[in-house]
Subunit: 210 residues, 2 copies
């Protein structure tokens, strides 16, 4: 055995060791959850010693919280439907459903959702963090869009918030739970497109102004 220190291959970011610990912890936790990952494994993946990990994060729980919070905000922060045309109702609704499905069915989002749900008893606050970054944001965006649609007179939407919840529930369908349970493989573009069209069609029938 050589005494030379092993340098991790993809440590190209000059953001310091704290960042590399955080990145390594992200990958480990997403892959295996909280309980199955040891601080040794995280330190090894980050290319630092365990003492260095503890120099930046007080405990495994604190590190987990930091990882989940950052991941939630980074993952769902980009969802926006501001640019869609409220007069092309069916096309825009189909696009919203498709973007929503691609977001929540992405491997990273599914893995994040799994570990939060699984550890919610131990980390109750993470539920609120995740909700604010994810479902709350997508719902608010959709609600605002439906408000613009109603203003344009293209649909009859007496309660935009309820309608947005129902639209997203329809889009989520049973696919989301099937992915959480590992019953379906990776996302298929055709399947997502079909689900998005079914969602928009059913929603339109229920809320058409005629």
């Amino acid at each position: 055995m050589s005494a030379t220190a092993r340098v991790p291959a993809h440590d190209e970011m000059p953001a310091g060791k704290a960042e590399s610990v955080l990145a390594a912890a992200e990958q480990c936790f997403l892959a295996s959850g909280f309980g199955a990952v040891s601080m040794d494994a995280i330190a090894r993946a980050a290319g630092v010693s365990k003492a260095t990990v503890y120099a930046h994060f007080a405990s495994k729980e604190a590190l987990f919280g930091a990882v989940v919070t950052r991941l939630s905000e980074r993952r769902f922060g980009g969802f926006s439907v501001d640019a869609l045309d409220p007069r092309a109702v069916e096309a825009s609704l189909t696009t919203i459903a498709q973007r929503f499905l691609e977001l929540i069915l992405s491997p990273e989002a599914i893995a994040l959702n799994r570990i939060i749900i699984g550890e919610i008893t131990r980390f109750p606050v993470l539920g609120e963090v995740f909700w604010a970054a994810g479902p709350e944001r997508t719902r608010a965006q959709t609600e605002a869009f439906l408000g613009r649609v109603a203003e344009a007179g293209a649909l009859a939407v007496p309660d935009a918030r309820l309608a947005a919840e129902q639209f997203l529930a329809l889009a989520r369908g049973e696919i989301h739970l099937r992915h959480l349970l590992r019953l379906d493989g990776d996302i298929d573009a055709a399947t997502v497109g079909g689900a998005a069209r079914h969602t928009a069609a059913t929603f339109l029938r229920a809320f058409s102004s005629g």
Copy 2:
């Protein structure tokens, strides 16, 4: 079954220690998940020694699998909508949505769902067990009911399977995820009733035969 009047010393465990281990493990796993529960804690809760636990279950994993399988089937086996009238569409759909919500939002079902999702990476087969006992069963029941409704001409349902999925997705809404994330307290009868009525009303607008 003997006719002799032989009174056991303790009425607490009429079904033997294997059953009491299973019952204790159910409570422990539901309360804290897989990783946070030790075999010592289960043995203590069952009132037996750890060696007795291992005399009946080969490993912690095997015990966990037995618990989850039994719980899934016991919990969701009773869901049936055979007795509902397909001509009283709105009332029957509201009842289905209400029963469905009461089932999936019950504390036991939520806790079961949590630990399965959280440990699905370690126990992939449990996803199939849970799906067959829960979502698959409720969907098949609802689909059969919608088939009878379409036969009676009360609704236009070209694809009963898709319609059943959409109906249950609408019923699940965002409440289910909020409960999984511990964001809502125990179920409120008025809230469930309201959600069930909204579900039935929206579904009826989308699938009315007129």
